[in-house]
């Protein structure tokens, strides 16, 4: 069921969605999406361009964020707009945490505007693979 307009309040936070990114996840995403860039499959190739090893697709992280929004909205298809900039790489083995907040509700259009982010801890420092991402969700 798509989330109801009456059940949404400005300032409310979405439940966080956490996941440790595995090599198998990244390969499954490459096969499902068609993005077979070697940066996401070969440690040797990734090291050759200055990375520590295989990284997740930016879109893997964004799809994880969309899953967080979809779970809150009750249906991934309720997302009518979404944008993100990829600001930090995510390595295999890293945990990513998706979150968000309701920024505005439009009762006429029956939509909610969300501010979204994905954070990750790397060697004790917080990185933001996605920050200040935006989405619009249709409400019932």
């Amino acid at each position: 069921m798509t989330r109801r307009l009456d059940d949404v309040a400005v300032g409310e936070e979405l439940p966080e969605l956490r996941r440790v990114v595995t090599r198998e996840d990244v390969k499954a995403y490459a096969d499902a999406s068609g993005d077979q860039n070697l940066l996401h499959q070969s440690d040797a190739f990734a090291r050759g361009v200055g990375l520590d090893g295989v990284i997740a697709h930016g879109m893997f992280t964004m799809a994880h964020l969309a899953a967080c929004v979809g779970a809150w909205a009750g249906n991934p298809a309720a997302i009518s707009a979404m944008s993100a900039q990829f600001r930090a790489t995510v390595s295999v083995g890293q945990e990513i945490v998706a979150g968000g907040r309701i920024r505005a509700v439009d009762p006429e259009a029956r939509t909610a505007s969300l501010e979204l982010w994905v954070s990750s801890d790397r060697d004790g420092a917080t990185e933001w693979p996605i920050k200040r991402s935006e989405a619009t969700v249709r409400l019932s």
Binding site: N37, G58, N75, A77, F86
Partner: protein, 131 residues
């Protein structure tokens, strides 16, 4: 040395048909633990049907071995339906070079079988400067 060519801005590519394959949607959803619906980010599968044409376009001159995905936007005018076929119309929306780094934005408009617009996407590719 290859580098993205700003003069390719505005290039339009031939329409490509994209089948919203329920098997592929299910595989995509499974990775992200979703029960139903087509996630908006699934549209990137359609983008990958077009990117090879852009990457191989000598007028664009992109060096894909130096490319990172910089950003992504989706706008859906209605939910995408499993089993439908969309027509994907792509163009190079902008090309900028800053300090040797190239920023290439590819925009796509997607239409349904009745010709009605369904979705728009915009992908920004970053081509790192040669070292």
């Amino acid at each position: 040395m290859r580098a993205v060519n700003p003069e390719a801005e505005g290039t339009r590519y031939p329409d490509v048909e994209f089948f919203v394959d329920p098997v592929r949607v299910a595989a995509f959803r499974r990775i992200f633990d979703q029960a139903d619906g087509v996630p908006p980010t699934f549209l990137t599968v359609a983008e990958f049907d077009v990117f090879p044409g852009v990457i191989a376009d000598p007028a664009v001159g992109l060096d894909f071995s130096k490319v990172l995905h910089g950003g992504q936007e989706y706008e859906l005018l209605r939910p995408v339906r499993e089993g439908e076929t969309l027509t994907v119309r792509a163009r190079i929306d902008s090309i900028r070079i800053r300090a040797g780094t190239g920023f290439l934005a590819i925009a796509m408009d997607m239409f349904d079988e009745d010709g009605a617009p369904v979705a728009r996407t915009r992908s920004t590719m970053i081509e790192r400067a040669a070292t």
